[in-house]
Symmetry: D4
Subunit: 225 residues, 8 copies
């Protein structure tokens, strides 16, 4: 054992996919691609193909998405949201409506990731774009839609003020997703994160910066009934 060391079989498997997750938590498996190599993503996609487990690949670079599609050629790829979903067809929706609001154009990728996640977890979804608080009439113009939602997801960067405003207008819970949109003292999303944690209206649930997947997942759980 003291000589040139060889990786044992336990290294061959770089990840333990949790195929029971659907059973245990009721939702598909998700694979966060970003910190993984293209080779690791390809390996996992092959295992998904073999096992037939419904899976969302999130934060996939074009190269990672191609690796997934090579193994799961009938998957759905949304390049804006950076999501690859397999199977391509979302389940028949149940539960309440999930409305996703994007404060600005640049928050769209995160908002789309949230919307797709909620849809593939089995919810009806609706996306509203570019309704920042600097033009209140934009928000107020969607009031009926917002009030028809079981949960509203709001993706916003910069001052992160939109969730406070929306939460003051509806009785449903609001899932706030801070984004890294902004510069300088936005500090990569810290400014909207702190705004949202300190929202002056109650009923705001905060997730990690740029975490569209987490926001959509949480919304789907809330809107399950």
């Amino acid at each position: 054992m003291a000589e040139g060391w060889e990786p044992g079989p336990e290294l061959a498997r770089i990840a333990h996919l949790d195929h029971d997750r659907a059973a245990r938590r009721g939702y598909p498996e998700a694979v966060l691609c970003e910190p993984k190599s293209v080779e690791q993503v390809a390996l996992i996609a092959a295992e998904v193909a073999a096992a037939g487990t419904p899976t969302l690949f999130t934060r996939a670079t074009p190269e990672q998405a191609a690796a997934v599609l090579a193994a799961l050629s009938d998957a759905h790829h949304d390049p804006v949201a950076r999501v690859v979903a397999w199977p391509a067809a979302a389940p028949e929706p149940t539960g309440g409506l999930v409305v996703v609001v994007s404060a600005g154009t640049s928050d769209l990728p995160v908002a789309r990731e949230a919307e797709l996640t909620a849809r593939y977890l089995g919810r009806r979804t609706q996306l509203v774009v570019d309704v920042g608080v600097a033009g209140l009439h934009r928000v107020l113009g969607h009031l009926d839609l917002l009030r028809s939602a079981r949960v509203v997801v709001v993706a916003a960067g910069m001052d992160g003020a939109l969730p406070s405003v929306v939460a003051g207008l509806v009785s449903a819970p609001v899932v706030a997703v801070p984004t890294s949109v902004g510069y300088g003292a936005a500090f990569g999303g810290v400014a909207p994160l702190l705004s949202m944690l300190n929202a002056c209206a109650p009923g705001v649930a905060v997730v990690n910066i740029d975490n569209g997947y987490g926001g959509g997942h949480l919304a789907a759980q809330i809107a399950s009934s």
Copy 2:
């Protein structure tokens, strides 16, 4: 107008209570006592008594609580949660079960504030105490209760690891309330806040540090159906 300045009548009213809130959002008014003077709290309590609006007074010091009880003598005061509720009787519960979990003894005030808030917003609640991750058998011993909840609220300080563990065990959403319990590199609740925002299990909704009211309010909204 240039001489010795006198406060006009607009100053006589230091706060605009939002009596339509119940109608607009469906829940009682809440008054955050902490940053207000005892006099301000007394003034607001008198206005609540006059208007008859169901109200929760949160983060009330003993002096502030006494001021509220002077105006609303039949209110319910919970000194651990630092909450005064009027009227004392919570509404007949509707919706799903809210289970509130306190990671440690010192997280109890925040957990109680969350539980009381959810109860006065009309939910059935159950409180489980001192089930930190250092003794996993404690969490696992409550698995059936946790899985029967429509939403689980977890109050935890220090490493803030409990919401990740609970979210991995149940399919309901988890509302995570970081507490300022801890010292040194806990930085007044920053450590558990960051843990919860980075929970490795999806479905974790984070609110502000020590914000038991916010956590309970969010849980009541989620469990409304």
Copy 3:
């Protein structure tokens, strides 16, 4: 020179009051009381009385205010704003209207300090209280007043969202004063400070946390014509 050291006359004067300031910048002298001892404040007040220079004493504790009033018995003391002004009569107002908005009850001391400062620097002022973004109808109810201002000062803590909303509604510049109102991840005013620096509407001028004096001074300069 090497023996027991004695403070020379240059120490007798702990401060160099800048009596030419009015001439140079056009506004009264201001003395920030907070970091000074009661004795130092008394000394300065005596010098002001001797020199007859119009002066604002800001962030004065009750003890410091008493020390000022001992030397300048006809001064105006506003205990909420923690300001002592001498002479008590504000100058005849010139320039445009300064509207000061307080997001919540607890932001009132800072808002009052800003209003008083602008008034003693020679502007007409109007104070609007408790109009947080959680109830948009409150802000919108003051739209005419807001649009009649040459500059609007907004004092807000917690999410600091109000300046963005106001700046989107008016064409005048908005002076945003973050307050230390809030707890947990408000970090003593950092959260609203960052929100305001990242306001999604342009035209927001930010000053230091709780700096009502600075906000009022800036507003008076902006509204000078």
Copy 4:
């Protein structure tokens, strides 16, 4: 609805340009290019061309600027300030003089962005470069110009000391724009940002780090009369 999901028409419009802004706030539309893709910028430029709304494109990379110029060939492009303005001619100036001061050579892009913004919002402007506090004679040499301004914009990185010095010399308000110039403990502009928020002279209005557009906009509003 459960099969392969298609983006609805609401996604076709990635942004809601606010053509009423000029009417509502009195200034041209602005498009922050940096966080947008070249395609998104091109789409918006085409819409601007169709609608004929005066617009400033800010923080434009060379590729983004080219995309704008493809749609609006007679626009003015300033590569140092990274601004594209359409129409190229600034409005006939009204109001007071805006003097823009650049502390160092490296602060020039931000200072130019501020100057151009104020000019296209209808103000006379003057730019003074490289007058850091390490050589006070440089600042003092421009004293007459500084004192003739209705508002002074100061762009400075590193120690951010210049706004304090300038504000002590003039009676006009000073708009301070911290820049990310510096290294190490400058922390990408945090050091000058904090200096400016703590300026020992009153009358300093702070905007976000590197926010030349915001600084110029605010200055134009202040100097409107």
Copy 5:
């Protein structure tokens, strides 16, 4: 001495390798490659070859690894762990068992670096991968192995919750290595670092973010008897 300056011989040696280290501390020399140029690494490798000192080259880029292998052709290179070890054969193991646990797939490089370091410092090692707290059954499935260790090394990013859980299950000390895996409010490893420093179970020894070498070294020292 005042003319054109020439580097003296003291500059020829850019580093003083500490060949007595093995004698003094009982372990091989280590060279942190990352902040060094390829030329510097090559120079050091040549000196190692000349002196015959057992050495670990850590955080080696492919180019740096190639430079080492050029001088020490029989060294062992592990590209995942980014380690080059010379001589290739680890010493005959003594002391107790070091179990290394990787919370997620993306923590594997750090975990491997820790494992290799402990092995080349003379310990038996075992690696367990992808056992995050979101699926507790994974951790519990390795309980016997964990309890057989003299020390457990845990590499984890994101919420960093695994060391708390493991430390609560075993009586051996746990070496916690926070990783920079995660995004947003993970802040490059700060979130798991703080979690680990605040672990609610005692017996958790924390090292620097991504410091697999340090974690493995510490584990080898602990397990020396």
Copy 6:
């Protein structure tokens, strides 16, 4: 269930003491007194007395210590370390020697807490005081003792440089306990915490700021054989 709410029996027990801990992890129970009320501490002490479980009460104020001694009159109270230990007699020591080093006089309470903890967990201990790096001869004067230790605990505030120096002198692992001693840019212990995490000598295990208990516990585990 909808009327005035009464705490159920599950609230009567504010804490679940983990009497199996000794069996499971091999060490006595510990109660962190600081965040608990005197009443809570008294309740727990009474339960300890009833159950007969060896227990350390840490960070006890004089009032909390008195409450413990009221229930456990034969306990040992160390007011400097703020520890109350029951039973008073430490177990017969086994394993290796634990040397605890205090960098300065003010680090003594933390160092003593570490030493007592290790002693009550069954190790031989030795305490060395006031050997900061500003006078290296002090450290070097204890070299033989330091090299005879199975593990060295170093408590240091301010620059936190001592663990690096000690770790470079011995082959045993070093447990580094940063303290909040210092002011200004020591930031309550952050400066020594970061120094220790970046120690240039390997083999440094860091625990939380002021966590003498954790440092002593870890040392006892390391020195168990």
Copy 7:
């Protein structure tokens, strides 16, 4: 050894005074009183009296100062600087002149501590007060004195801009002492600390926040010849 533990003789001495320091570094011993108990300070003062070592007691509360004077009745106590010096007579001055500048009245305690330290380390000193950059004429009025110094110490809080200005006016090095004077975004001295570290004029030596002793010590060393 396993029974009730007694502190050994090594604990009787809580500190190792470094009486050789004067010989080794050429300056008197210094005792930082702040983090020590009154008893500890009294013990140390008694030892100083016995050994006859010249000593500075810094950051002494009135109680600590009284304890020192009880043992060293002929010591010099400066309550503003919070310094007690023994012997009272400073040494015959040698070397160059140390000019100490206080930006504002509130920086005076720190400036005095610096001046006294330099004086007791054997330098001529001169103190200039209240010369902040908001009134440049104040600084410029002392230009001759500043230019006659071998080193200038500048104590400043808030924007910390004064050292940059002074360093641009003199050829001597400037020792910059940031103070915790200020509020809000001054963050207890962080704002001036960062300003000083980023001073746009070279030749600025920074010490810890409020570290008047360190600033004076450094100045005395610089001005030794």
Copy 8:
């Protein structure tokens, strides 16, 4: 003036070189190249050539260095220190000896920049490399040299412990230059910066992270006599 705007002549000069600096402060001009474009650097070099002012170009990329050498072909370029000096010959040295110490190999560029700066400002210099505190014998081996210096410059990253150790060994002042060497919780040089600001030995002068130029400049001023 309202049409297409043209840069006036004041923009042609992007920088105001301060040719009187040598007279005023006694040292050559310095140009920080890093934040400037190659074109700007070339322009400045041409002006230097025309004016004949001795100048140091610091933090020059290879491209920037080439641009300087194109205008000043007989300048001295040190690629490790990233310095270009003109004229190439340093002045005849005066004053005391400046010893520059590099804690590790990777700190060498900063140490070299400091040494070159001191040399071109007219001091004798000596460089000592790779003497980190993990091997104290390295530092102690240079004790005579260190004690012969008028000032010691120490460049160190990671734990930044070396200045404390050196300052405890010599009576001369120590200029501490924190470097960005390290990773993880070194936070780009924050860890050594804080260590140095909290050095437990007095006499440590801190400059900005990686500021070799500033460290060398300060040292040259200190050693001027």
